[in-house]
């Protein structure tokens, strides 16, 4: 029964490893293919731009925009990377005035002006998700499918939208997707927006000009398309992956700077948040599925290894007799190699079938649910199955080799004389425990009797708890980060340049607390990666500040210092290798500014530098881009403030998004937690029961000599508690170190995250291992209670 249970456990572990690998792998491959298809340059794809030139402070008029495109095309530097086209576009932040069951909602929005261009087209696949046509007239728009389904809007409906110049009605003529908004999140947020809390729409050129009150041909974005899909520089690596494209961007930057004095930034696709986020997600999934398969297979491998060792111990006498009778080593080894191979093949087959039939489709379905785009044409590829099968079989085979070798090299005489059972205990541990009562000393010594087995067990438990712990710790840490749970504002009202006065007036009239904020993109000198500079009126670590700063090093910046003092987030410090006290030059388009780093902040997911608003304002010539509001009881945002703003973010929406995401993922989250615990239960129980069964003769001796079962129970309980505690502490330490390592491998410039294990999570991990360990005591003691002492005495005396 016990052997069958052990067999079931290891087969299940292999199956779970394959299941997880196939499921994640199917997901990773499917989304990779999906993005490639959506972004591709062909008729079916959207032809994602290769270089973006964004005017960060104003718009270019039509003449300048066209002349910039001509200048860029004229001296294009790389004939191997020919420029196909340059298209001026307008993208503006704004609002959608949405009525829902009589309630007027102000939904933050981004409006794109898209003519029938060749770059960054609207994606309207032949699928039930999408319908209609592109916008042509100046009162038509294509609404993004995420927003349409979230708000229940259909083709033919009329919607009311704005971009800082009042509200206007537009007819929805189509529903589709846009390559910038496949991952549907507010700018700066890593959470997908709750349905109905964010809108994007794709208007005709004339439509966007009417909405934003712009002259014909105006643009704040130049899209450059080069032939094919060139390599681009990944923001998270030291290497320059797309050297040709980087050189082209440098050329574009210089050309625009020479031709125009507007503040602008130029970047490749790694600078587009949604594109970069999905790439990082798909890359993370691609990197993690072999690791997950390998990790679970490794736990199964360790369990197989330990089980085989135990099997060999229990069959040592039979093997010794076979060897004495002249059976060659080569005849003994295959039997022990065959066992893990059979376990691996059975487990893998089950895992592959379940993964391909259920896991992969479930992961893709969850992706569709969370990301909100149809995963067209996903499949589990044979190469993925072979890769996962290969990993699992190699691991289980390695696990079987050593025990099989040990079995084949058994010395018959040693076994038959009982010499194999004679061993010298550790003198060091004896000395350490010699002053304790003998029962306690024995408990401690028995706990560490097989150090290698314990190390393997703790490693396996650590691996299984890693699955559980990383998830749990990440969720804990993310809660604060993504919802800004410690912040004290209700709404961030974005304003057109110079428009903050009206919002402040509204705030004063309605008794709301307010604080102006200046947010502006910049980059370090000699580095193209973009950060956001936040100019705050109050930089404070106090809990009641609108944005309390989590200062992890250094001090708060001094106001009006000769060299402006700034706080830099830890991600930026890490990627740029900056240090506190250093002076660095930062660029805001064509403007450069020397700053002194007075401290480091933690808790920012995006790259952030905090300025005193007046310092930042002096450098870029703008007063504010948004106003933070804390609304008094009973006051709500109304159409008036909506019409004067170019986007309003409500903090409650961020919290709702996170909670909704958690709810969506609760099932898989619980499954992963449960899986980690189940594997830890299996591994730890097997090892503890093996320890006990190895001590059968020792415990039988004590029983025959009159040791009461209650005292033996206490000894075993103590031993299991000690093993659980040591294992728990080591597992928790292993989980924290490994989780931090894994996260350090996954973080990007655009998404930096550091794991801050809290006491409760760590204690929870330790307690789980202790509880698993202690709970296996009754199984062990029941085995001793049921021990047939007559049979045992025969063993002891014959």
């Amino acid at each position: 029964m016990k052997r069958r249970l052990m067999l079931f456990a290891v087969v299940s572990m292999v199956a779970v490893g394959l299941f997880a690998g196939i499921s994640f792998g199917t997901y990773a491959n499917s989304v990779h293919n999906l993005y490639d298809n959506i972004y591709s340059d062909d008729e079916e794809g959207t032809n994602l731009a290769d270089v973006w030139v964004e005017n960060t402070a104003s718009t270019w008029d039509g003449e300048i925009a066209n002349s910039l495109c001509s200048e860029i095309a004229q001296n294009w530097p790389d004939p191997d990377l020919p420029l196909v086209s340059c298209e001026p576009r307008v993208v503006v932040d704004g609002l959608m005035f949405h009525s829902e069951e009589g309630d007027e909602k102000l939904v933050p929005a981004v409006w794109h002006g898209i003519d029938e261009g060749r770059i960054d087209k609207v994606w309207m696949p032949e699928h039930e998700c999408c319908s209609g046509r592109l916008a042509a007239a100046d009162d038509e728009l294509v609404l993004d499918e995420h927003a349409a389904s979230g708000m229940g809007i259909e083709v033919g409906d009329i919607v009311s939208i704005g971009a800082g110049h009042g509200s206007m009605d537009f007819t929805v003529v189509g529903i589709g997707y846009h390559p910038y908004h496949l991952y549907y999140a507010l700018e700066g947020s890593i959470l997908p927006a709750e349905p109905g809390t964010f809108a994007t729409g794709y208007l005709s050129d004339s439509g966007i000009e009417r909405l934003a009150n712009l002259s014909a041909g105006s643009a704040n974005l130049l899209l450059l398309d080069v032939e094919g899909t060139p390599e681009f520089d990944l923001q998270s690596t030291e290497e320059v992956e797309g050297e040709s494209l980087s050189q082209a961007i440098s050329y574009v930057r210089q050309t625009v700077m020479d031709a125009d004095d507007s503040s602008f930034t130029a970047y490749d696709r790694s600078g587009v948040q949604s594109v970069e986020f999905l790439r990082a997600d798909a890359e993370g999934a691609s990197l993690s599925y072999p690791v997950i398969t390998g990790m679970i297979a490794m736990v199964a491998g360790i369990t197989i290894f330990l089980s085989l060792q135990r099997l060999i111990q229990s069959q040592a006498r039979e093997i010794a007799i076979l060897r004495t009778l002249g059976i060659p080593r080569s005849a003994i080894m295959p039997g022990f190699i065959l066992a893990p191979v059979a376990i691996g093949l059975i487990g893998s087959t089950i895992g592959i079938i379940l993964g391909a039939a259920f896991g992969g489709p479930a992961m893709v379905a969850m992706y569709e649910e969370i990301i909100g785009i149809p995963a067209i044409g996903f499949s589990t590829e044979p190469s993925l199955i072979l890769q996962n099968l290969g990993i699992a079989m190699v691991v289980v085979l390695i696990a079987g080799i050593k025990p099989a070798y040990e079995a084949s090299t058994i010395q018959p005489l040693d076994i038959l004389r009982g010499q194999n059972e004679v061993r010298l205990s550790s003198r060091g541990i004896q000395r350490l425990t010699s002053r304790l009562p003998t029962t306690v000393g024995l408990t401690v010594r028995s706990s560490v009797r097989k150090p290698m087995r314990l190390v393997f067990t703790f490693f396996a438990v650590g691996l299984s708890m890693l699955i559980f712990g990383t998830m749990s710790m990440m969720m804990d840490s993310m809660d604060n980060l993504v919802t800004g749970a410690n912040q004290n504002w209700d709404a961030q009202v974005n304003v057109p340049f110079g428009g903050e006065g009206e919002v402040i007036e509204w705030a004063e009239e309605n008794g709301a607390d307010f604080e102006s904020m200046l947010v502006f993109p910049g980059n370090a000198e000699g580095d193209t990666r973009q950060f956001l500079a936040y100019g705050l009126d109050v930089i404070s670590t106090e809990d009641d500040a609108m944005i309390p700063i989590d200062l992890s090093e250094g001090q708060l910046p001094t106001l009006d210092a000769d060299t402006p003092n700034v706080l830099v987030d830890e991600g930026t410090m890490l990627f740029l290798e900056w240090e506190v006290g250093q002076k660095q030059t930062v660029m805001f388009g064509p403007f450069s500014l020397e700053v002194e780093i007075s401290g480091v902040t933690s808790g920012e997911i995006s790259r952030t530098i905090y300025f005193h608003r007046s310092d930042l304002s002096d450098a870029i010539g703008l007063e504010a881009t948004s106003v933070l509001l804390t609304l008094p009881e009973g006051i709500e945002l109304d159409d008036e403030i909506g019409e004067m703003s170019v986007g309003i973010t409500q903090r409650q929406d961020l919290i709702d998004s996170f909670e909704s995401l958690l709810e969506q993922q609760q099932g898989i989250y619980n499954a992963i937690l449960g899986l980690g615990i189940l594997i830890a239960v299996a591994v730890l129980s097997i090892t503890l029961l093996m320890n006990l069964s190895e001590r059968d003769s020792e415990l039988a001796t004590l029983r025959v000599l009159g040791a009461p079962i209650s005292r033996i129970r206490m000894m075993i309980l103590g031993e299991h508690f000690a093993i659980g505690l040591i294992g728990g502490i080591l597992s928790a330490a292993f989980t924290i170190v490994m989780a931090q390592y894994l996260i350090s491998q996954l973080v990007q410039w655009a998404f930096y995250f550091s794991l801050q294990p809290n006491f409760a999570s760590t204690l929870q991990l330790i307690l789980i291992v202790v509880v698993i360990s202690v709970l296996s005591t009754p199984i062990g003691t029941s085995r001793i209670s049921k021990m047939d002492l007559v049979e045992k005495v025969k063993d002891l005396s014959q």
């Binding site: 009982g418 059972e421 004679v422 061993r423 010298l424 205990s425 003198r427 004896q430 010699s434 009562p437 003998t438 029962t439 000393g441 024995l442 010594r445 028995s446 009797r449 003769s697 020792e698 001796t701 004590l702 029983r703 025959v704 000599l705 009159g706 040791a707 009461p708 079962i709 005292r711 033996i712 209670s785 049921k786 002492l789 007559v790 005495v793 025969k794 002891l796 005396s797 014959q798």
Partner: protein, 272 residues
């Protein structure tokens, strides 16, 4: 006349095997007085070890009476288990096999209260009996490898309810091992290990010491040395001894030799 320490009348022990019932003990009448050293001799399968197991209450007789120092010795109750065995063991009705695990699970509480629990209670009573009255020496010494010589003795004292290191040291002195107290079993010879086992069996002052082939794993010179130590220690502590052996030469260390065959006493001779 003083009361015998061990008194057995018509003791029987039967084992039910597939091939039929084996009568391992078949009507044993035996009385042992305090201070005696009895050697049980006989060929393999004669019932020596079964008798020793019944004396130590490791095994329960099928029939007959067994009193120790005038008191009833605890024995396992006779509880029929046919219904449980029918459910849990293989049978010819293959269609029923898939249902066995479920039935086991459902009926386990009944099995637990009707069989496991009373048996565990009886087993604990027998353990208490051994703890209070019996010392035991095995053929293969069975010392705990993680404990030193001294700790092997203090462990038994602690488990029996009271550590007495001075007595442990005295016993080691008695068996000639006062120099080896801090050594591990693996660091001393087989003869020395068996002497430690003797000291361990005396640690809680038993009234009866039992040995099963206790010199079977030793050469004849060492065997003699161990037996001398055993006799000396038992005399010094006033302990009654019963030991099982194939070795006729050990008769010289006993005061009485009992020979068994086929579960019956063939002869019972006083020595010297």
């Amino acid at each position: 006349m003083s009361m015998p320490l061990v008194s057995m009348k018509g003791l029987e022990r039967h084992y039910h095997m597939a091939s039929g019932t084996v009568r391992a003990l078949d009507g044993i009448d035996l009385e042992i007085s305090e201070g005696e050293r009895i050697i049980l001799l006989g060929p393999s399968g004669s019932g020596k070890t079964t008798l020793l197991n019944c004396i130590s209450a490791l095994d329960s007789p099928t029939a007959g009476t067994y009193r120790f120092a005038g008191g009833e010795v605890p024995r396992a109750p006779e509880i029929p288990l046919r219904w449980w065995n029918r459910i849990t063991t293989e049978s010819r009705t293959a269609w029923f096999d898939p249902l066995r695990p479920l039935l086991r699970l459902l009926l386990y509480p009944l099995h637990y209260f009707s069989y496991s629990r009373p048996m565990a209670k009886a087993s604990e009573e027998a353990t208490s009996f051994r703890r209070e009255n019996i010392g035991y020496v095995f053929q293969f010494f069975n010392l705990l490898q993680d404990l030193t010589v001294l700790e092997n003795i203090t462990l038994i004292q602690e488990l029996a309810g009271g550590r007495d290191e001075a007595r442990a040291r005295h016993l080691l002195d008695l068996v000639g091992l006062s120099e080896e107290v801090d050594r591990f079993p693996a660091e001393i010879s087989g003869g020395q290990q068996q002497r430690v086992a003797i000291a361990r069996s005396l640690a809680k002052k038993p009234r009866l010491l039992l040995g099963d082939e206790l010199t079977g794993n030793l050469d004849s010179k060492t065997s003699g040395m161990v037996m001398e130590v055993l006799v000396k220690a038992c005399q010094a502590e006033g302990i009654t001894c019963v030991f099982v052996t194939h070795d006729e030469s050990l008769v010289e260390y006993s005061t009485r030799a009992v020979r068994l065959d086929s579960g019956k006493i063939l002869s019972d001779d006083r020595i010297g």
